[in-house]
Amino acid sequence: MKYRLWFVKKGVLRFISHLDVNRTMMRALRSAELPMTYSQGFNPRPLLTFALPLSLGIESDCESMDIQTESEIDCEKVVEKLNRFLPPELHMISCAPPVNDPKIITEATYRIVFTYPGVKVKFKQFWNADKVIVIKKTKSGTKEIDLKLLVKIGKITGDSEKCEFEAILPTGVAENINPTLLTDAFCEQCATEADVSITRIEVRMKNGEKFV
């Protein structure tokens, strides 16, 4: 049986890596004593996959992981059991059989907040440029990309100390832009000391519908 578990990654727990999340979830699952399906071979591990690994430093309201069990499980109880193990900052929200294939994820929305005196004006100037060229590391080396062509930025709000907006970035197996490419480029060019907060708030598919 396959299940998709939804959880958050918040606060100081943004400082643990994807591998750490993976390890912690394995332990949470073992502690919940679920009838997990294990991989075959020398080092059997519970079958566990993540739709979109989240980079260290980024928070999320909408992380998902898929598990496989030998028999049917009570979704509500599983969420409760796992939350007995997990800290509030890595809290399970829900559990349900998966609907969509993670391979068809194409984009995600992130909420980005910069905190620094005068940062809103600076960001608007930065984003008003015709092109925002950054260097992206790929498997085969590095390449230059123009963020203006790839990133959609919503209404920029905030005050003299703060700059807040939502950004839609290509996300998934076909094309993936890490939001830190945008925030790092801005901090480097304009306001190196700005405090940056990035939260993944929704994951969608090609048809614009939410990934469930």
Partner: protein
């Protein structure tokens, strides 16, 4: 974030104790003087963290030495080092407790105190709190850092800490000054207050006298837990997010060791042997595995295969590990009593590597160090291992042992070669590149409270020569040879047998940038050499000198139960190449029976 592995500094793990500081009477910070990755692997932390937090009036938190990138962030932004649970600076705690696991962590203690913005020396910390205390094996000779510490616990913390905490609570409630607190605390057996002992030196640097002040006993007596089955069993404690050296469910099979290897401090300072019942061990481990979700469980002791109920215990545990796909780890196996039954259990889930420690290559030298492993036992064990399907084996040895000759060094290579030959003797074993015999060779370090405490360490040149001799004696690529760097072993020997004159050296080296000395990439031997030179302290006096049997030893005002007469007797027997039976075979009257019971069969 310009810090590697920030997960080291955030706390918030499952099993981490959160309390409201307004609700507690005493705040304790358990400090492991190395990085999080090491401290979180330490079983003692789990026990004491659980024990202290079990008292609703105490909140015990944790702190570790930061990695240099984090230290820079803390110093650049003027952030004092904090407890991981509350995030409050260490200076706001009542008790700061360091565990002394190895000598090379001493500069980390100074660094932690400095990052907490506390004066390094006990005499410069005028108030009762924060009280800086230490515990752990190195307390048996912590003279090199005695000037930085307010008081120490000699022996097992489970026994002493509750009594000490009661005194601290009273001191806090009644606003005692530091002097009164120390004078009351020292009334507890097992508490050592270094400032209550005056040390006077002879012109040649040896000790003339150690004089107790304030009516404290001439010798501080070690405290131990008598019945391990009734001992407090802690919850699993914080489960780390990041990958640490060892994260696994672990509990002790027994404390102490029946063996009496003459180089081994642990074998002496934890006497007498006390075994736990298999049922107790099983219940604790299975419960811990479930609560923590750990993928591995480990049995901890100085010599796992000496545990009397090992086979029935493994039967019960493997039933659980099979079902939960949990790995079972058995450290500290002995060559002489390793059976195929035990091997079967270990291999049931995963084939992790096997490690044995013959310690010396020749029978003669193994007799000197009282490591009772014979050539025949070694051969038998190799056969068991290879027949069990293993193609790799790790062997640990030491060089620089007392009475060692070049033949003894060459014998290490011969022993490893023997293992290779035994593997290929069995025609069924696959040929090719599969087999790997790995030999890890460390340098002998004379330790206090061992029969070899008087023996000088070989010079650097001699050790390097022996390392090379061994390398050239290995004739096959099936044998992998690793050895320890001599420089750290020499410094460790200096501290192990050091006295209080070393405190200025340690402080100087720390001020000049030494910390994380146990880490190759941060160890600065040249800075250490400079510090010794600046302070006019001779390393060889402590490391290389053979100490006279009539000298007052720097640690002689501490008493772990075993008598000096026994150490001397064992020292002499070693030099004659005579072995001493283990305490299950025959009691030789080491002195540990002073605790009212000892490891003799059936004499609990």
């Amino acid at each position: 974030m310009n810090v590697s592995k920030p997960g080291r500094y955030i706390g918030h793990e499952t099993g981490c104790e959160m309390k409201d500081k307004a609700d507690v009477k005493l705040r304790f910070c358990f400090c492991f003087p190395d990085i999080y990755d090491i401290g979180m692997s330490y079983l003692g932390q789990k026990i004491l963290y659980g024990l202290l937090n079990n008292d609703s009036e105490i909140w015990c938190e944790r702190a570790y030495a930061p990695w240099p990138d984090m230290e820079k962030v803390l110093r650049d932004h003027d952030i004092p080092l904090y407890g991981l649970e509350s995030g409050d600076p260490l200076s706001e705690f009542d008790v700061i407790g360091f565990t002394l696991q190895y000598e090379l962590s001493y500069t980390n203690i100074l660094n932690i105190l400095d990052l907490a913005k506390l004066p390094l020396r006990a005499k410069d910390r005028k108030t009762a709190f924060p009280l800086v205390i230490t515990g752990g094996p190195c307390v048996c000779n912590m003279e090199p850092i005695a000037d930085f510490v307010d008081l120490a616990v000699l022996g097992e913390g489970e026994e002493v800490l509750p009594e000490l905490m009661a005194v601290c609570k009273k001191a806090k409630a009644d606003s005692w000054d530091k002097d009164k607190l120390l004078k009351e605390a020292v009334k507890i057996t097992g508490i050592y207050v270094p400032s209550f002992y005056d040390v006077v030196y002879n012109d040649d640097g040896t000790i003339q006298s150690v004089t107790p002040k304030n009516d404290v006993p001439a010798k501080v007596k070690k405290r131990i837990v008598k019945d391990l089955d009734k001992m407090y069993a802690p919850p699993p404690g914080p489960v780390p997010y990041i990958e640490v050296v060892q994260s696994r469910a672990a509990t002790e099979l027994f404390r102490g060791c029946i063996r009496g290897c003459r180089f081994c401090q642990a074998g002496y300072i934890y006497r007498p042997v006390r075994e736990r019942k298999a049922d107790t061990v099983r219940d604790i481990l299975i419960d811990e595995c479930t609560v923590s979700g750990y993928e591995e469980m480990a049995l901890s002791s100085l010599s796992t295969s000496d545990y009397t109920e090992i086979v029935p215990l493994l039967d019960e545990l493997t039933a659980k590990t099979d079902q939960q796909k949990v790995n079972l780890s058995l450290p500290s196996l002995r060559v002489d009593n390793f059976s195929s039954e035990v091997l079967d259990k270990v291999s049931a889930v995963r084939k992790s590597g096997l490690t044995f420690a013959p310690e010396a290559g020749s029978q003669r030298l193994r007799d000197v160090i009282n490591k009772q492993v014979t050539e025949e036992e070694f051969e038998r064990t190799c056969k068991v291992v290879f027949n069990g399907g293993y193609t790799s084996l790790k062997l640990y040895f030491m060089i620089g042992l007392p009475t060692e000759s070049d033949e003894d060094i060459i014998a290490i290579a011969q022993m490893a070669q023997k293992a290779v030959d035994l593997y290929y003797q069995n025609a069924e074993n696959p040929k090719g590149h599969l087999l790997n015999i790995s030999i890890g060779v460390s340098t002998f370090i004379p330790k206090p409270f061992t029969p070899f405490q008087w023996v000088g360490q070989d010079s650097e040149e001699e050790i390097v020569r022996k390392q090379k001799l061994l390398a050239s004696s290995i004739k096959t690529r099936k044998i992998t040879y690793n050895y320890h760097d001599m420089e750290t072993s020499r410094l460790e020997a200096v501290f192990a047998r050091g006295n209080r004159t070393l405190s200025t050296v340690i402080e100087t080296a720390f001020r000049n940038g030494c910390r994380l000395d146990g880490w190759n990439e941060w160890f600065k031997y040249d800075v250490w050499l400079d510090a010794f030179k600046t302070c006019g302290v001779d390393m060889d006096f402590f490391a290389a000198r053979t100490i006279g049997e009539d000298e007052i030893l720097p640690w002689e005002h501490l008493d772990v139960g075993v008598t000096k007469a026994h150490y001397l007797r064992e020292y002499h027997r070693a030099l004659e190449g005579v072995t001493t039976p283990n305490c299950r075979t025959k009691c030789v009257g080491c002195g540990a029976a002073v605790y009212g019971f000892c490891g003799k069969e059936g004499s609990k």
